[in-house]
Symmetry: D2
Subunit: 325 residues, 4 copies
């Protein structure tokens, strides 16, 4: 690394730390997810970020080491996993890739649009369908397949936060409504309770910003793991996943996020955001070779996205010119 | 231009011509827009493409010179024009930027989502609102502003196809329903008939693939006109427009287009598609410096997009690796 | 009239006067229709009732002589008129007879339910359709037919309140939205502006509680005018109209009105309610030979029904046991 | 019974038998409910009717003795039972009494209308809520209360068709979706599986046309059992139930049934219809003292109503002038 680059990197972390402190107070504009008791007890004022570049270089600031559950961020992993096993066309026959403008847990379209195919795998209806498509006859088998996938990408065996899982399991009537509806219309590929066990377990996988930044980096590089020098995911599936993240990844604020930030991203109600910068080779950009970004800020807005996290990303996108548009 | 680049460019046109002939037959899977009589009489088997690079170099194939009306492609221009006049926040207070998953002429959300703000400027409800926001007390004034904008970008004074305009004017009851609804809820900034006159006139501006390719090129370069060496549009507005094109530009198939092609694009029911490749500097890509692309293929699918045009773009995206993801 | 009956009748008026004063204060729980300026200036504390028996005997109390515009009560007359001219099947091919549970000015179902046939003639979409079906090439002809109908029943030439008409004409964007939608889907039988002129004019016909009580009486007697000893309306059409009044006549509170009062009724946003008691021959009931009832109480609730009027009718239904159930 | 009345009664049965044969062939215009396998195997060409007068006199024709399961007819019983236990206001706080225009198993309104209160107890969402309100901590206790009610009215201990129950239990994903949604929004008063067990068990109670005619008779007489000379149900609850049957009892064809037949009725997907004629004392009517009517015709239309049964009732209503309007 040359002198100028070194200086740039030092400045980069300095700026990150400054911005994290600047946006931390945004937490007061939202609140922690209340429908899952275990999430509601989190300290809302946390904010952390981790950026990983293709060289493996990491930039961290704030509460970047705090563990949190993936929640909806896991939808990206299970979608990629299902596509790798069945092939893209098989999966897209069972779940569409259209944004909806509806809340993440909306059921209306399953009845309104015939034949009731879930609109995309980033909302709950589509994600539960995707989880049901994972290979294996039992929830354990399906999860084992998903865990292997997670390990292959992150190099880490996933840990499930059992308290969060149980809390969700007992408070998931809306998800059960969606799953039974999908079972009725034939889109669910296994039993309702099995699909929910898989789905809620994957939501309860505990990560840090570093892990989701690493996943983001591999997505940024079209499935290539730069530190292991290995293509760990197929390029066409990763491209599809990134398109879905951009159009549907931030719940019913996906359009605004695309407009304001311009990066493929997936958020979770625990306050995590996994996003990425594809290599853009703009000479002036500090992240021109691409990177993965992990964010954690548990206070969420009405759509389900981290208030402070979205503000921080908007700031970064403007300052460092990383939008894909 | 060096020898290798020259060869590449020759090959590029050869390939374009071959692919146009290959996908022309796709027209039979759709039909020309039937609700506007003047459009219905078009030869459905036309297919043309024009690509313009920052150097001004053009690559053309098929019916690239055939004139057609902009229809919904004009929504991009009027949105940019309104934002340039009022500033982005003023416009976004009156029209959101969220994709809907609904048909382009859907009215349901105006009643279902309180307070009935139109979801985005790429569907009819939002586009009529945008047209009403153009400066000027009369339709003529508003259109003059829009025409000046069009001329500034393309260097050409726009021509309106009066036959198409009249045909639409007489068959626009669904648009009138939307406009009256928006007037009732307070989102329309002028009289209903005035907004419709502006909107339907801008839809009837006649272009060729060359002109929309040029607009696309300027969008690809964030508002910079490379041949005139001038920033003709503000960068932030162009970025916003491109984000909207990606999430909402292809009607209720926007998600599939993002997944399959991965480029910001806007289609019209006349069969036009305006799209663009941002500079990506991928060494192997024949369009690494970015380009604008204009397509014309009047046979459209159920969502309102050119059947052959979408297929051709999907092919190009895969062969030349131009997806933004 | 024997002694016992005479006493009963005297008591009846005494009770009416007492109840009117009792429920007049209910006006404070609602407010006068605000979207029509001319209506909004009415004194909200008025409450009047007129009951007419088959013998012609009238019982009045409160502001029974105050004039008010029919508004939606006119939907019953135009529906009967259209059925008399075209026959019931022709009309029911163009407007259904199902209650909706939606607000009176809702447009959602026209798009959601294919093929978009209006659900019933008591909501705006269906009523505008019905007005368009009246015979005649111009609004004047259609209205002349309707007026003749009105005169035939009431013996009075209708007077239109021009101020209210103009006020509605200028504030009818929601109705225009409905009419254009219906024009687009083919259900409107004339031009949009003509249908609206007929519809808004019939809404502006000025009546008193006496006139709507007389219409109610004739409906109660299946179209028979007892004082003129003449069948003025066909029995099958009147029966159909009464069924519609019961299931759909009180906007989206029709179910509650059927449950609490149990009489066919039609309300208007001006605060009028036209209702009726079919002959029930219950020996203990003071209205056992049937009657028509007209109510006026301009303060309306969120559904559009007279607050004091509905309360008064609920009281009457319970005290005098006139429910049809 | 005098000579004239005797003759009338003989004619009445003659006519019934003739009409049953006439409308039996209507079965071909529908088909047996296919989503419950046990129902689908029924002979669709059955048609039976039983009419019971206050004197106890019965008129029967066709397959009146064939057993069938109550299905949605049971919704009337459970609603009455819940009201008797909790009082009407308590129940109406948890389920509204408005017709919807939607299919019986629709879920849209629970999300669209805030706060998601089920619209009426005659559609599945409202009926499952009502079943959850029955007193008792377990499904057995709730059912015991319901059975006692059924026995009190009919004098018969109810028999549950276990095959139908199991068939429904295994194919009730749509009902489970509704119940979980209601649990999520707080309207369900017990656990989801318990509410469904009660609801699906009550649907599987086996009856004949005679039993539902007897229930209908008691409803016609405002809760009075004429043969036992006892008020078995409270008058206000029965009145409310009859209003609900008229506005919401025939699924999304309730408006048409009210228009064409004009009687409070409740149908079930097994092909049963329970209806009634209130005493009308019209001298020319053969049923002027009121009656209960039970129908069975298992071939149902798209709304879920017996095709032949509805046609037969329409014929009877016209011939014998029994409409309540």
């Amino acid at each position: 690394m040359g002198g100028r680059a070194l200086i740039q990197q030092v400045l980069l972390v300095d700026e990150l730390q400054q911005w994290v402190e600047q946006y931390r107070s945004k937490a007061s504009e939202g609140k922690c997810a209340s429908y899952i008791p275990a999430l509601y007890r989190t300290d809302p004022n946390q904010l952390g970020i981790c950026i990983i570049e293709p060289t493996g270089k990491m930039h961290m600031a704030g509460d970047w080491e705090a563990p949190f559950t993936m929640q909806s961020i896991s939808k990206v992993i299970s979608f990629i996993a299902a596509c790798c096993y069945h092939g893209i066309p098989y999966v897209l026959d069972r779940v569409d890739v259209e944004p909806t403008g509806d809340a993440f847990n909306s059921i209306i379209r399953l009845e309104m649009n015939k034949p009731g195919k879930p609109f995309n795998p980033m909302i709950n209806a589509g994600a539960i369908t995707t989880s049901s498509l994972l290979p294996g006859q039992t929830p354990d088998h399906k999860l084992r397949y998903l865990y292997a996938f997670f390990s292959k990408i992150t190099g880490v065996t996933p840990t499930v936060n059992e308290e969060v899982f149980l809390s969700e399991w007992e408070n998931s009537h809306r998800n059960r409504a969606l799953a039974h509806y999908l079972k009725d219309t034939g889109y669910l590929a296994c039993e309702v309770e099995d699909a929910l066990e898989v789905y809620l377990t994957q939501c309860s996988i505990e990560v840090t910003t570093e892990q989701i930044a690493l996943i983001g980096l591999i997505l940024a590089l079209d499935g290539f793991h730069p530190m292991r020098n290995e293509q760990v995911l197929p390029k066409d599936v990763v491209r599809l996943a990134k398109a879905l993240m951009l159009t549907c990844g931030m719940y019913d604020a996906s359009g605004k996020f695309a407009a304001n930030v311009g990066l493929p991203a997936k958020s979770g109600v625990s306050g995590g955001i996994m996003t990425l910068v594809p290599p853009n080779r703009k000479p002036h950009s500090p992240l021109q070779d691409g990177c993965g970004i992990g964010i954690f800020g548990p206070s969420i807005d009405g759509c389900g996205n981290s208030v402070a996290g979205v503000s921080l990303l908007k700031h970064i996108a403007q300052e460092w010119d990383v939008s894909i548009f």
